[in-house]
Symmetry: C2
Subunit: 293 residues, 2 copies
Amino acid sequence: MSNALLKLREQSRLFSTTEREIAMHILENPQLVVDMSIHELAKHTFSSASSIVRLCNHTGYSGYKEFRKAVTHELAMREQSKRTEQKEITRSDSLQDIIDKISYANIVSLEETRELMDAAVLRTCVDLIKNARMIYLFGLGASLCAARDAYLKFLRLNKLCVINDDWHSQILQARNAGTQDVGIVISYSGATVEMVECMKIMRENNTPIIAITRCENSPVSELADHLLYTTSRESIFRSGATSSRISQLCIIDILYTALANEDYEASLEQLSRTHIRKPGQISGKMYKGSSQF
Amino acid sequence: MSNALLKLREQSRLFSTTEREIAMHILENPQLVVDMSIHELAKHTFSSASSIVRLCNHTGYSGYKEFRKAVTHELAMREQSKRTEQKEITRSDSLQDIIDKISYANIVSLEETRELMDAAVLRTCVDLIKNARMIYLFGLGASLCAARDAYLKFLRLNKLCVINDDWHSQILQARNAGTQDVGIVISYSGATVEMVECMKIMRENNTPIIAITRCENSPVSELADHLLYTTSRESIFRSGATSSRISQLCIIDILYTALANEDYEASLEQLSRTHIRKPGQISGKMYKGSSQF
DNA sequence: GCATTTTATGAAACATTGTTTCATATACCT
DNA sequence: AGGTATATGAAACAATGTTTCATAAAATGC
């Protein structure tokens, strides 16, 4: 609906030379359309008002007025999502600035994660996990937190999972994985030597490997059979792998939800069964609301 | 800048009766301004074009044209953030639908977290943590993952932290906390009995308590001295406390960044010191890029 | 309480801006 | 070369926004 500028770019083959010229000018600075009258714009693009109207018609609008309405709308929307520019934290930032910048950085990271996600790859991953005898989870540091989160989620779906905290146990764990199983490796950098080691072992056993890592060439992405990408941007103060960690969790959410949705009724039933009863609780009725922890 | 409708509401005392009447109509359905010409709108509001122009002038615009531009802009912005409506996952959803819905749910949750965050409360919390002798972290289930994440972050800033996985250890941990320390309790529901128990113990010792919990009346929010709120919306398939968990992590990010920013140089130095050296690594040069895990 | 000033209001004149028409120029085809 | 199709901008036209102004109503002064 509101893709006037996109249409302007895409449908340029329908335009005459003059129209194309006008379109170029507009695409270069769309704000002109909002600020100028049709005659002004005609002058500015060395053409005529009628040519502009014809351009609008070819782009799918009844006239300049309608076109302008669409462009105004579009620019406003674009402005709204202009927070996309990564803003560094500076020394002079107020607490409110920090709140805004960090929140937006995380939001952008989620938007990027969404764009990086390939439904076909997800399909394969969901099937692999669904049919796996056992899910082997791997991660270290902040990525271990994400792996633990995945562990909790898969447990809720009655999937068999293994996770270990330290590297030595993870190596042993990797040795046990077989063809019928699936390994899920979470690594922000894609270079963690411990993870690479575990993956090599699993490859020897022909265990299919899903990696959740950043979208770049790295040992981890080379060793994995299926890749789910996290954002790769991190700012100076967040070298503790911050945005990527939220990105990882979102991917896990998506995997979990997709899995759960594959067998709707069965999941619902299973979910209610795994709702933990608190000590002293009779029948599942808890303090207002039903969630836990 | 773009608050035409707000001004219309606020400055109504400056208006005459006719103008107020027009303003009411516009506020009731602002889209009218975008769709109608000034004469049409005059007819629709049983007034005249000149009255509308006068209204625009009183609202701070040079005329109807400028006013309409502002309203169009404002409505577009408003529409952009309308994705706020929580969309449930349905059985017929494609994988792409799931990707979009989950991502957006998480984004909305971050937006809400930002809105719920009070800079004054954050100020107090940052000061408490900065001056604390020891930080005691508490959480269970998914909230324990968030607590572990906080632990990793605070460690990087050379803050003394304690965290324990099981409830019994957490109780012991709570007993050790004193006036000079700070307790950080993470609980999605705000009702987890184990957390409540820990908080009661800390209250006895007059340990200041920061709680990261959902914005509702709950035992946890009553027992805490300082509250940082997470989103409270969860959908059916996400009873594993999903969005709130991302919300929790964002709050931790903000706390961490704010803390780090308080002493810029010191943090930078500290950060580079805590960059872990990998086995076999000579001087910190790693595979392309500098991050870990 | 009446006269005067101020304020409020809409019709109409006016100015601006968008749309359509049409004559002309150019390219293309036969 | 002649004819047709297409492209283009000037100008007429239509619509839409702005200003003026006469009138009516309210407020103020005496």
